[in-house]
């Protein structure tokens, strides 16, 4: 029996709010310049913690988003990024209605809930803001806000998969389109800085005191960031029929699990290898067709060493360019997978690989050119983005350039 060819999935819209500010343009300007946006933290208290730096969305950018301050910080980021992606895709009211709304999220409205809680605990009196804090505290609040605001009436899902959430929502979107459930999906992720996230990673001794240095021999951990990024994913035929313009094809996507440990990745990168290999299979590509990998690249000793091992197994030592944009915009948590999907697509579109910042001496256990410091021109046909969440939640996405 021959199976009918599966629909091809294209990316027809991009939107982001990053530590560089609002918009895809500012993201690409920052990434391609190799500008590290990791600075002293201002929006949460960090006194006494091992790290006091993070990549925050600047206050003036947040205030310029045109989204009510009554909404949670994370909802504001999500709504602005989603608005840009839908506008970029040229999806108007009627075209939007059947769209799936898929959001990777972890922190929800915790930023406000924490502020309210500490206010009340410290003052010993009921503090204002309770209603707002409780209304948007759950991770699913973002998907509700986005779907309501933009009239998206297809399936609505929130994926809580730690640091892989933003990539998982994109993988799910591809599945829903390939399976014919929907022909358009808004997929992405969002997280705002919160004390619980910062203190949690601090307690795990995973935060670097200085801006993170992925793949460096002297790397000391990760730097937290915040932001939101969304992609409009669309059945290629439908996109063409409505006269839409695609940025890239989402050629392959795969998710795997290390059934290994509550936090640590499998020591041989078994689940990472399977995710990348399955994504290549899904894209019907040989590993040699991939020119660049946007690594998960957190800057922790453990992740970077095991990811490099897995990359070497899949692609062969030194066969690809590898960079970690977390060195530029921090680890934006549930947004990271979608922010990095944008970075990967923009690298394809511009023929330029964003660099790994703060990388002065490569770890000898990392047998790759990690593009230190300065962006590198590269004629790329396809590129892969990795996202690996706590507890072995692995997602690999492959994007390819469209042949016009």
């Amino acid at each position: 029996m021959t199976r009918a060819a599966l629909p091809r999935v294209v990316v027809s819209g991009l939107g982001v709010v990053s530590p560089y500010g609002a918009g895809v343009k500012s993201l690409w300007t920052g990434l391609s310049a190799g500008a590290c946006a990791i600075r002293p933290v201002t929006v949460i208290e960090t006194e006494g913690l091992r790290s006091r730096v993070a990549a925050e969305v600047p206050a003036e950018a947040l205030d310029g988003l045109g989204v009510s301050r009554r909404r949670s910080r994370a909802d504001r980021l999500a709504l602005a990024a989603a608005a840009e992606a839908l506008a970029d895709a040229g999806l108007e009211g009627r075209d939007r209605r059947p769209a799936a709304c898929l959001v990777g999220a972890v922190g929800g409205g915790m930023h406000e809930a924490e502020a309210w809680y500490w206010d009340e605990v410290r003052s010993g009196r009921p503090a204002p803001g309770r209603q707002r804090a409780l209304r948007s505290v759950l991770p699913r609040a973002h998907a509700d806000a986005v779907a309501f605001r933009f009239g998206l009436e297809g399936p609505r899902e929130t994926l809580v998969m730690a640091c892989a959430s933003g990539a998982a929502s994109i993988a799910l979107g591809a599945d829903l389109i390939r399976d014919g459930v929907v022909d358009v999906a808004l997929a992405g992720g969002v997280d705002a800085l919160t004390r619980i996230c910062f203190m949690g990673f601090n307690a795990l001794k995973l935060l670097a005191p200085e801006p993170c240095r992925p793949f460096d021999r002297d790397r000391r951990g990760m730097s937290i960031g915040e932001g939101a990024a969304f992609l409009v994913l669309e059945d290629a035929g439908r996109c063409r029929a409505r006269g839409g313009r695609a940025h890239a094809e989402l050629a392959g996507a795969a998710m795997t699990t290390d059934a290994h440990h509550v936090t640590a990745p499998h020591p041989e990168g078994e689940g990472m290898i399977r995710a990348m290999s399955l994504a290549l299979g899904c894209a019907r590509m040989a590993s040699g067709e991939i020119g660049y990998v946007n690594a998960h690249g957190t800057g922790t000793p453990q992740n970077d060493r095991i990811e490099a091992l897995a990359l070497a197994r899949v692609f062969g030592e030194g066969r690809i360019l590898v960079s970690s944009t977390k060195s530029l915009v921090g680890h934006t948590m549930a947004a990271a997978g979608s922010v990095e999907a944008l970075a990967t697509i923009l690298a394809l579109e511009h023929g330029l690989v964003p660099p790994t910042a703060n990388l002065t001496e490569i770890d000898p256990a990392v047998p790759f050119d990690c593009v230190p410091g300065t962006a590198r021109p590269a004629d790329l046909g396809a590129a892969l983005s990795n996202s690996f969440g706590f507890g072995g939640q692995n997602v690999s996405l492959i994007f390819s350039r469209l042949s016009h």
Binding site: G66, S68, R69, R71, R135
Partner: protein
């Protein structure tokens, strides 16, 4: 901006954000009251008022102080339209 323009925008918010029937919105006048518990009002509850406030802030680019008691301002479409106009004038 005139009171009429603000009223029309408020009706749009009530239809688009609060999911009221557009036919019902067409019948709304400046005298239409908002909170539930008043005869003939739109019957808005506390969550509706949050949604309405968010809609107003995003449409008119103003900031409404949530610590203030604004029950008089949010009583009817007329009082609300005047409130929005005065806030907009403050820039």
């Amino acid at each position: 901006m005139t009171e009429k323009e603000v009223l029309d925008d408020l009706k749009t918010i009530i239809v688009e954000r609060l999911r009221f029937d557009p036919a019902r919105a067409a019948e709304m006048t400046l005298d239409t009251t908002l909170p539930k518990g008043i005869d003939g009002s739109l019957g808005l509850d506390s969550l509706d008022f949050i949604e309405l406030s968010v809609g107003i802030e995003e449409r008119f680019g103003i900031v409404i102080d949530e610590r203030e008691d604004l029950s008089d301002e949010f009583l009817s479409l007329q009082s609300l339209a005047r409130f929005v106009l005065s806030k907009s004038a403050q820039g």
